[in-house]
Symmetry: C2
Subunit: 198 residues, 2 copies
């Protein structure tokens, strides 16, 4: 949303708010949730710390406001889910690995690290994942157990990020993207389309 | 190892070392890797911080020395892997969920949190998982792609711990243990016994 489309807000104020949000986004990504401070964000944005609190309240609230997935879930997920159902696992795996092999890796690692660090950050990540990802998948699948399926898919992705990009467990960390897609596609396929229990 | 079986070490010294290790284990579990300090561990153990450094070197080294899985992998995993192969996924899922529903949950959550917090802690966890878990699974399965299978199984478990117990994504967080076992058993079955790619 540009300044011009934000109703009822003075341009100057909005710019300051955006500068704070930009600084916060960078610092949360680079330093992690724990080491990011209101004071440090204020310094980078060139404002008084009191102004950060004025606009966003707490560090937790600020994190929840600026944290974003490195893709537009509302645009991407329906497209992945609406194609041929027999192929959905591979499409999903290709998309996930693609995000993690591109510029989206840093953001995903930052999200997972933040979620692991403090209940406050975990709550923000949970809200984000529940609202953007699980809700969208549930709407597309539409079955009774869609919410559980969606959260199991989420657990898969988080585990992959942790093992491959955070902990660096070998040989998973150095497996080439195509072999990785082959290895994880059947899990997504089952979780999204096949009977869950026995 | 008891004091009597540790060669070449005076009992008094060994007891001090054990007291430091005990205090470190408690503080890493309760406070997490980031918030645990050499000073805090020394205070709880009733020794000078210099003595902690003398015995263990750095905080990273101390963490690597005291961090443990909440089960004896060398005893448990071969038993799980050596039974009927057609049932291995369910046995493995039952074991993992059992650990996480019992006293082992705190230790597993502590490990995952620590691994997410700092490269130093991640390295210690990686060593632990690689040495104790992946090596044991690889020995039992014995195929060429056993290391990748084992690390994918590890990613599954980490993702489950994160999504269910750290982030608390619903409905996964409140799913009853038996339904959870049913839902994840086929994934373990495939990763351990079926063709990995297509």
């Amino acid at each position: 949303m540009t300044d011009a489309t934000r109703p009822g807000r003075r341009p100057g104020t909005s710019t300051t708010r955006d500068a704070i949000a930009d600084a916060a986004g960078r610092q949360f990504a680079e330093l992690g949730y724990d080491r990011t401070t209101i004071r440090g964000i204020a310094r980078e944005a060139g404002v008084d710390p009191a102004l950060v609190v004025h606009f966003f309240g707490s560090k937790q609230r600020l994190f929840a406001d600026v944290v974003e997935l490195p893709f537009d879930a509302a645009e991407v997920l329906p497209r992945l889910l609406e194609g041929d159902r027999a192929d959905i696992g591979r499409r999903f795996a290709t998309f996930v690995v693609g995000v993690l092999e591109s510029g989206g890796r840093e953001a995903m690692v930052g999200l997972v690290r933040a979620a692991a660090s403090e209940p406050a950050a975990a709550e923000a990540v949970r809200e984000l994942v529940t609202r953007r990802v699980i809700g969208t998948i549930v709407d597309a699948i539409g079955s009774d157990d869609a919410p559980l399926r969606a959260s199991l898919v989420g657990a898969q992705v988080v585990g992959l990020v942790m093992a491959r990009h955070v902990v660096g467990v070998e040989p998973l960390a150095s497996t080439d993207p195509q072999s990785l897609i082959e290895a994880i596609a059947p899990t997504f396929q089952r979780l999204l389309t096949e009977p869950l229990g026995s």
